[in-house]
Symmetry: C2
Subunit: 307 residues, 2 copies
């Protein structure tokens, strides 16, 4: 079933131990949409500037992504520059030019309104909430946020969290959001704020999903998916959004919503994140096959599976 994804489209310039690359097509909506496109129909809502050309839109269209929700504005597309020279796990931002993204007001095309799944990429929580309200009745909403919104707009964020079925963030964000040092305790607090499930991404150590008691089935045990030990991470940019795309895309492709589906989705999230970092930008996400994806899913399984 269709997923609507709202987020950013950007041109990224990155430096990593493997080299440098300029003006790569990126942004949370781009990575998410490409990763999710291997599982389900994806519709995208984002804003671009005059420097966003047909060749860029084609990257999304080639994967069957519905791009009618891309808004074209006067000016330049959002640009970000960063490097991972000392630490592949954390980007050092060199510059952020919001450009057209600064005044982004998401518009939902009428044909998108029947979407059954919604992903709220990392934008202002008030905009996330506005989109969610326009999709009144959407059965399943996932979302992301970051330290910037946790610190600057805590009230708006608290309201938006009530509208999400699952929140996907990293360890540091979960702890910052709840002012807790222990991850399981942070998770319990997040689940009390609204979401029925919380996915915490641990980078090279995988991810954990925590369930609110009674949500998606019985039990309170969390579940962990590994990450693949990768010898050479070429470019970590977009790994988290690709994870979200694999996670949400797999869920949307299933006829039902239960813990087993969410657990498998956690594995597929790791799989798509592992592909994303193997090349600069979105290159690796453009030409995958479902067979390659499922073969890697098997490798992830074997990574933690006891006879």
């Amino acid at each position: 079933m269709s997923i609507l994804a709202v987020g950013s489209i950007a041109f990224d310039t990155v430096a990593t131990p493997s080299g440098r690359a300029q003006d790569l097509l990126g942004g949370s909506a781009t990575y998410f949409a490409l990763a999710a496109s291997y599982f389900t129909q994806v519709r995208i809502v984002a804003v671009v500037g005059e420097d966003f050309a047909d060749q860029h839109e084609k990257v999304l269209k080639n994967r069957g992504v519905d791009t009618r929700g891309i808004q074209h504005a006067k000016g330049k597309t959002f640009r970000w520059g960063g490097q991972y020279l000392d630490n592949l796990n954390e980007a050092k931002t060199e510059y952020t030019e919001l450009n057209v993204f600064e005044k982004f007001q998401p518009q939902i095309p009428e044909p998108y309104l029947d979407s059954r799944f919604l992903f709220l990429g990392n934008i202002h929580p008030a905009l996330q909430a506005a989109v969610r309200f326009k999709l009144d009745g959407v059965p399943f909403t996932g979302g992301d946020t970051m330290n910037f919104w946790i610190q600057r707009t805590p009230k708006e964020l608290a309201e938006t969290l009530k509208l999400m079925n699952v929140l996907l963030i990293n360890d540091a964000e979960a702890k910052m959001l709840t002012n807790e040092k222990s991850l399981p305790r942070a998770a319990r607090k997040v689940l009390a704020m609204g979401p029925e499930a919380l996915v915490v991404k641990h980078g090279e150590y995988g991810a954990t999903i925590f369930f609110r008691e009674g949500a998606f089935g019985i039990g309170t045990h969390p579940f962990r998916a590994p990450a693949l030990p990768i010898e050479e991470v070429i470019d970590p940019t977009g790994a988290g959004d690709s994870f979200a795309g694999g996670f949400m895309g797999y869920i949307a492709s299933q006829g039902q919503l239960n813990r087993e589906v969410l657990k498998r989705a956690l594995f597929y999230g790791g799989v798509m994140g592992s592909f994303a970092v193997e090349r600069f930008g979105t290159e690796r996400l453009q030409w995958l096959t479902r067979q390659e994806i499922d073969a890697r899913f098997q490798i992830f399984r074997e990574l933690t599976h006891l006879e």
Copy 2:
């Protein structure tokens, strides 16, 4: 089959967010022996001072540990003080008094010489090697080391690594030992230095075992075991040594040595580490039952097991 463990016995004074505790019986050999004692017969070689009383030895004897290899020397037992107030994942050492440990020369009692498994706790690599040579022909040796020996005694350590079947260290140690930032690449280098398998402990994120090609079966894929998300870690001291005890103890309890056994051992390592941190010192490791251990093993399985 019997394991001989050589390492330290210490009195630890720790401060954690849960409180303070003084003069706790600790040390690598103590934690290792208690954890391994639930799986197999353990023999211990270590040195203590005049402050080591019957009540301390009883902690080990109550678990059936053979203490004939404990050497009694004039002076005080090794003492360590540290705190985890800011970060439960890393101890801040407040003091280290080596005392009798400074001149420790491991002596192997004659009845220990038929041990089929050997664990070389974190002591000077030249002493580790000397013990290994005295147990000429021991079929399986595991060992530990730390940043101190990696930096101060790299040549001796390189020689000792050739004598180990499996090395158990953490992420930072693996990277320091090989001068690599990527863990899988660090692992490949370690395996080229001697050990057939490398266990890298990730703290709250579990552990990974890397196999040298052809060792313990076919294939080159690593394997990951999760750690249990624990709401309140009372005292992290000894978690790594308890992990090693569970890992080696389980291996010694099995009639064969293959990848499946090593994978299960990695889970049992995590299980024993998770118990260790639930109380101050060795308290939690003194009164477990095999049933409790196997129940937690099941929880660990479910933590990553897909239908």
